[in-house]
Symmetry: C3
Subunit: 503 residues, 3 copies
């Protein structure tokens, strides 16, 4: 039974060779393959290596217990006895997809959404909707404060142009900067005709395409993109479980999880030894299948011990194991309770989980009890390889680092507040952007880059060289000092505004 | 026949074991091995693992069609029936090599050049000579503007020294900084005697050695070093096809191709899955041999689809697939037509493809039609895995990013021009170096580091976190803002030059 | 005999299956496993994959010559015929361990120290005690100058806080910043009771735990942590020989060995090809087992040529192959003679190997002859793959880079001295911290980050892009220039201190 679960293709080839072959593809999928195997050989070949191409839902349902990968209660009979091919996803529920179009007799949609995946993987899709990431698009773009930050990065500086500077399409810039990870909003804006080998054909024009951001707004209204992590079209669990996948979005100094991991003991063991590991086991056995955690092991995967006992249940809702949110905001703070953070209001009325003084917007964030539960779920993973005293020691340092980096940020923010008050820079309260001037950018560096890096290094690696000299404490202290000296060296704006001074 | 192409060693061992053995080495190579297998076991062992050590040219010629690796029309009979050993390369055409010397009865040269490799690989060597890289040495060192940039990096700051500061040999510094990648000029400067296990021996002294830069000037007058990518002495196609090879020179923020790739979806798939891939197939089948492109796949390799149809021809002339040059210059611009860029003159008479206002030196750069052809060759690779709408969407963003980063650079350059005009910094027009003062360096950062990074992230990865926070848009905008504030805060040089001010 | 050396487990399983099984574990270890296999499956599974779990010391002693891994003359009979399990290390010599405690009838200690490892690996433990790393804790924390540097990084900036800023425990910060790598001092501070599945149990409380820093001060008074590199509990030679291990501490721009290696030709070959290499051979054969060096190959490992002749003896005392110390100090200088550097006094009486003018504290550093011997040991590794002219050329550039970076540092230090003299910043001589003000931090960047990076890039990679644009020469020159301009733009402190100026 286990062999069936792990090696269904092999099983079927050995015991029922005649059952394998074209007849396992739906007629519609066969038609797709007729052309696309030649036109897009990369997609088709990758898919052929996938589990989707090898197993029918009916077979997947036969797997019992935690080894079962299909999580929906039932699916229609029509789909049960064919493997999951092109048509099974790209023609599913055509009416709900605004990007659906007639294509050689089929109603096809370009963008496969989490709703489509939920046909078979309902539990994971449901968990993911409660994940902060599913709301990554509105959480960023509908937040007035963040909008200032986006402007301070993506608005072009002024030019005196002869000849005129080329046009700049801001939405195209957004799509490949912030929204590459946060997800674009996909909107069908029209239809275009293209000459193909089969003559002229019509295709939908989709603004925001291509995109695989974690909070993508799909043409069917759903949110997210499973292929952000489960890369098309092999959808390999091995890929999703390796740190390279998370690195795509967790790479820069604003959220350097990949870099921190690379310089940690866990990363050391992963990179040195993972060629000997098994990334394909649905129940992932600690110590046996792998000897150091990857991102997925701590945050998502179903882990068991060598006796098959569950250490951690699979979750696609990250906060299950996350008491704190460490990055992206001015201060580290208890993790938000809801995936939609646009509803948060701090004491000053801003849509942020803390105010600029560091006071938390309690009612929108995990309570102490909820944080304890999340911590325990995370620590059960730690304890599989570490004794309690090790884990306690690690956690004490981590909490101290949250406190100390928040204190450093408070110092920087007080300097910034003073600078604003003295009229040396102009924030939103006075009609400016709080993130665009040089002194404001130095302040932004403090929390968005350096404090975040220090906290991630602490949380994921127990500290180390990376969290000190590579974008860490060394940089953090330097930036606060530079802010202090700058503020001290400046005369107040009013005093400055006297005749004879340069404007 | 295919088995012969792919596994010639195996084939020969199975069918003609007696044909394999010492008699396949030339007598000269056997003599080399006699000593050097012990003296330099690393070189010899690596070579023994190579295809060169396993196949004779005569056997290589028997391979038909695209699987054939030897590309010269014919080679002398003398070399045809021995494998490619030490002597075959290091004693070839001795008279043309200024570094040739008498060594135990053989005329040996130290530096194997592209001309030597061309004996068997004439097509690739020919393509490479049309590649910008082949001219990387003079393109850098013979350009008066770049010479200023080199000075601003490699000239030492002044010291008042007692005892005297240690001597600094600038040519040694150049050889391990700019010229490590661009290539040194190898010049035989004399002869030295060394005690060896076989007694005293004479060896040539070669200034600029060692070096494997892409534009190395060899003692035989040829340009380039095949071993820059085809690492000695295994010359493994697997190595050349992996991104680590390109990373040696495309690593820093001036040209962070490796870092961008590492944080891209393509990189994600490569790093996660490449242990399952086949890097040895001469015709590299998309989707089957590999499921995401490496540097070589997009820029160089011969790609076929699963039916063996050519998707992209092999080229060692990068601009075949490159309409634009994105990095290294003040503005992104159409790719130069000729590998030798020292002939370029912009409207202001400088040897640069644009002037400081961004206007292109049209007649030296690819025309619109040539760019279209190059784009189509590149996109045929994209289309093997992506639909047309995906590729079009990607390209539209990429062109916008060229425009928007050029606009940001124009804004910075206008500020810089103003600073020069006001006498706050001194450029080449006034006898200074346009790159050495702090404000000039900030301007250099804008285009040489940040704008380049943004463009590479767009071109290779469709954007993402790396192109924003890791040396990307965030840094670009910050640097332009800092320049603006600096310029605004300064009094003009003339106004400043009044009694009582510090000099 | 060789098969026995390399595959003892296989050998035993084939020839003497009845000898393998539970009876090879000591009774004490069996008791440990009884609970901990379930409680900490990760540790136990990793250990089961280790050589320790597969070989008894008696078997290890049977291996002859350089293949033998056990290096102690003899060990007690009691331990000889059981594999090295939990109890063999964690209950060894209980009286010497301050963290020892009664645990289910056994005297167990948490922290296994180099003294414990020395029971079987006496030679390596002895070498390591002469390694600078063994003294990394006192070398940092007992040096008054370094203490200033630590303060400038880890002391929090001042805040005006209402509500009060959260408490910050400095020792917890130290433990995950500097001391993560340098090693904490482990001190038993008490006992705690914890509820377990077997009821309430007492455990020692150890301040500074967890830690695996190279210079950890252990509860038995010994120094170091073998598991810094020989990761628990698999203790795999493969892991220790791969560069990921060193990266944990040699990662940031203060000592970017990992980053430099990644962008070097050696790194290129390692990353491209190492899946084909053998990392398990005790005698590591150059060219055969591996074709490019890793960190361990150049600095530590026992290397032989294809005839089994020793190229380099194994050493855990790094300076055996290191004539120069390149990083961590103001100037590169001859390597210290003793591991304990706290005894060093420069001409100005400070505990540094040079004074601020660059003059070396000769009597504490390797003599010219000792440096020659160290250079030759290192170069014997180079020569396994490179001809003498290659190695000589490399070394000449490397020495020039030591000189040129020291000269740049001297220029920066002279500017700094001038700034201190003019009262524009306050150093230790005037009761301040020489590293905390912005201009001082810029000076620190010059030597601690950029000059170090340039030297490591030269030493390990022969230069290249990384040593220029990624934290290298480009940054070094920029920082010195910025210091110069800052100093020139400032009025002297005295001149400034006149009525009307802002304080």
């Amino acid at each position: 039974m286990k062999a069936l679960a792990f090696f269904p293709l092999l099983f079927l080839l050995l015991l029922a060779p005649s059952a394998y072959g074209e007849q396992r593809f739906s007629t519609a999928t066969e038609e797709c393959l007729g052309c696309h195997a030649t036109i897009n050989p990369g997609i088709v070949s990758a898919w052929k290596k996938s589990r989707h191409a090898a197993v029918t839902p009916a077979e997947a349902f036969k797997v019992e217990g935690l080894d079962r990968k299909i999580s929906s209660g039932d699916i229609g009979d029509e789909m049960k006895n064919v493997v999951v091919g092109c048509a099974e996803c790209h023609t599913l529920d055509p009416k709900s997809h605004a990007d659906n179009f007639e294509h050689n007799g089929h109603d096809v949609h370009v963008v496969v959404s989490p709703k489509d995946c939920a046909a078979c993987h309902a539990v994971e899709a449901g968990q993911y909707q409660k994940n902060l990431m599913a709301q990554a698009h509105p959480n960023l773009t509908s937040n007035a404060v963040y909008q200032f930050l986006i402007d301070s990065v993506n608005a072009l500086p002024a030019v005196k142009a002869t000849p005129p500077a080329p046009a700049h399409k801001r939405d195209l810039t957004e799509a490949e900067s912030c929204l590459y990870c946060h997800g674009t909003k996909l909107t069908v804006t029209g239809t275009t005709s293209r000459e193909t080998e089969l003559g002229s054909m019509d295709f939908p024009v989709i603004a925001g395409w291509p995109n695989q951001g974690v909070g993508r707004i799909n043409p069917d209204g759903s949110k997210g993109s499973c292929s952000a992590c489960h890369s098309r079209h092999e959808f390999s669990m091995e890929t999703a479980r390796k740190p390279y996948t998370c690195k795509e979005c967790h790479s820069g100094p604003d959220v350097p999880a990949a870099k921190v991991y690379d310089a940690s003991k866990h990363g050391n063991i992963f990179y040195s030894d993972n060629k000997h590991w098994d990334f394909q086991k649905t129940k992932w056995t600690v110590g046996q299948d792998f000897t150091a955690p990857t991102c997925a092991a701590c945050h998502i995967s179903l882990l068991v011990n060598t006796e098959g006992k569950v250490i951690a249940n699979r979750t696609h809702e990250m906060k299950e194991r996350l008491p704190w949110r460490l990055f992206g905001l001015v201060y580290a703070h208890p993790h938000p309770r809801e995936a939609d953070t646009t509803v948060i209001r701090n004491k000053d009325g801003l849509p942020l989980p803390t105010n600029f003084g560091g006071e938390v917007a309690e009612k929108f964030l995990l309570t102490a009890d909820e944080r304890t539960a999340a911590r325990k779920r995370m620590q059960s993973v730690c304890l599989a390889c570490h004794a309690q005293s090790w884990v306690d020691g690690h956690w004490e340092r981590f909490l101290n680092t949250i406190e100390s980096t928040n204190t450093s940020t408070l110092a920087a923010t007080q300097i910034m507040g003073d600078v604003w008050a003295r009229g040396l820079a102009t924030n939103h309260a006075k009609g400016g952007n709080p993130f665009d001037e040089s002194i404001e950018r130095q302040w932004t560096d403090v929390w968005l880059l350096w404090a975040n890096t220090v906290r991630l290094a602490s949380a994921m690696g127990g500290g180390g060289d990376y969290g000190v000299f590579a974008d860490g404490r060394y940089n953090l202290r330097k930036a606060v000092q530079a802010m202090k000296e700058w503020a001290e060296s400046r005369q107040d704006a009013k005093a400055k505004a006297k005749p004879g001074s340069r404007k």
